[in-house]
Structures are given as structure tokens and as C-alpha cells.
Subunit: 122 residues, 2 copies
């Protein structure tokens, strides 16, 4: 079974975290054919943290997990912190294929998204 784990930084502001959870729900509705499991997790400051999110996916039957960083910039979190956490989880679960997707800022679709947001300016 394939899982997608949307990973955000996490905020002290509950509403920001709730937005990430809601986005994961939208993602689940939209790509249920490609991924059997879609969940969200946080790097810090909010529940659930990434290792727990990965454990939940595995408990639900995932054999492959794509970690999808909800980050705009290629900072330390994207290039060090999240890969380090994934390495630890991979060592604990050698039979599970855990892979890391590029951060959002790297997406070719970002320009299209920006242009479409600009149209909704008020």
C-alpha cells in the first residue's frame, strides 16, 4: 500500500496546523486512486510529529511512503532536518520504502499557481 505524508513545519498557532490537516484531507480526496493512505505530520511544535506520522502510515498497512515537504524554501529543514528524520525512520523500518519529494518552491507548477493567485487579488 502506498502512503503520502504531507509534512509542514508546525506552528504555535492552531489554525495554521489545522490548515495543513485540511489540505491533507483535500489531497486524500483528490488522489485516492494513486495513494491508499494520505496523512499529515509536523517537523516541530504540533502533533503529530514526522516519526509518528510514518508509524501511523505503517500501522495502516503502508509499504511505501512518500514524504512531501510543505515548505517553500530550500532551507535547513528541507535539506537536513527532514532527511535526517527519514534516515532514522528508514533504519527502524528497513522493509518500508520511504522516499522524499522535492519541496514546493522547486515545483514547475509554482509559477502557474502564482499567476492564478494574482487574478484573485482584492
Amino acid at each position: 500500500m502506498k502512503a503520502l505524508l504531507l509534512v509542514a513545519h508546525g506552528s504555535r498557532r492552531k489554525q495554521s496546523n489545522d490548515e495543513v490537516v485540511a489540505l491533507a484531507e483535500k489531497l486524500k480526496n483528490s488522489c485516492g486512486e494513486q495513494y491508499d493512505i494520505v496523512k499529515s505530520a509536523f517537523l516541530e511544535l504540533a502533533d503529530v510529529l514526522i516519526p509518528e506520522g510514518i508509524e501511523q502510515c505503517i500501522s495502516d498497512g503502508a509499504t511505501s511512503i512518500i514524504v512531501l515537504p510543505y515548505f517553500l524554501n530550500s532551507g535547513r529543514h528541507v535539506f537536513e532536518d527532514i532527511p535526517n528524520i527519514i534516515n532514522i525512520c528508514t533504519a527502524q523500518h528497513p522493509n518500508i520504502d520511504i522516499s522524499l519529494a522535492p519541496h514546493l518552491g522547486a515545483s514547475e507548477l509554482m509559477v502557474d499557481l502564482l499567476v492564478s493567485s494574482a487574478v484573485n487579488a482584492k
Copy 2:
């Protein structure tokens, strides 16, 4: 003349700021027909700051400016800080139409972007 001002938080890490400037360049190349001027600016920690970015657009001949927040979550920056700065700039330039686009996390295209990023997981 119409201007688009991509506004990011700003980072102490130069590479993160450079990514925003590079993204504004891509945006310029992609929507030059819709916008005469495309620039970037930062809320804090990096040059140029938003008021200076708005001044630059006006100096270049902009009569309308869309401020496009490169932010994922609807936090204080998106709902208070950036609107407050825009209000001050609007008061200083009553003849310029300065409007604010939704933050990225609100975009209907975000799910598509996430799904397409997941395909590039390694």
C-alpha cells in the same frame, strides 16, 4: 502599467532570498503579457522591503500593483502585517491601485502542485 510584487517573508539565509528573486524572474518571463513590471520584496530580514518594492514599481511607471504573498499559511503576516503595510503605502500613493492577492495555501491549484511534486520523490 500593471505591476506584480511577489512578497516573501525574508530569511537570514541568502540562498532562500535568492530563490525568491529567481522565482520573480521566472514569473516575469511567464506573465510578461499580463504584467508590465514583476518584482520581489520581503516582509523583513532581507532587501528590498515591501514599501521599497512598491516605490520601485511606482518609479517604473506602475499605476496598479498586485501584492502576491509567497506564504503557505494564513498567519499574522498574511492577515495583519502585509495588509497594514499596504494600507500605509496606499495612503502615501492614493492614485495607485494597490491590491492584495490570496496567500498560496489558499490556491485551488495547491493540491495539483502537491500531487505533481510527489511524483518526483526519491
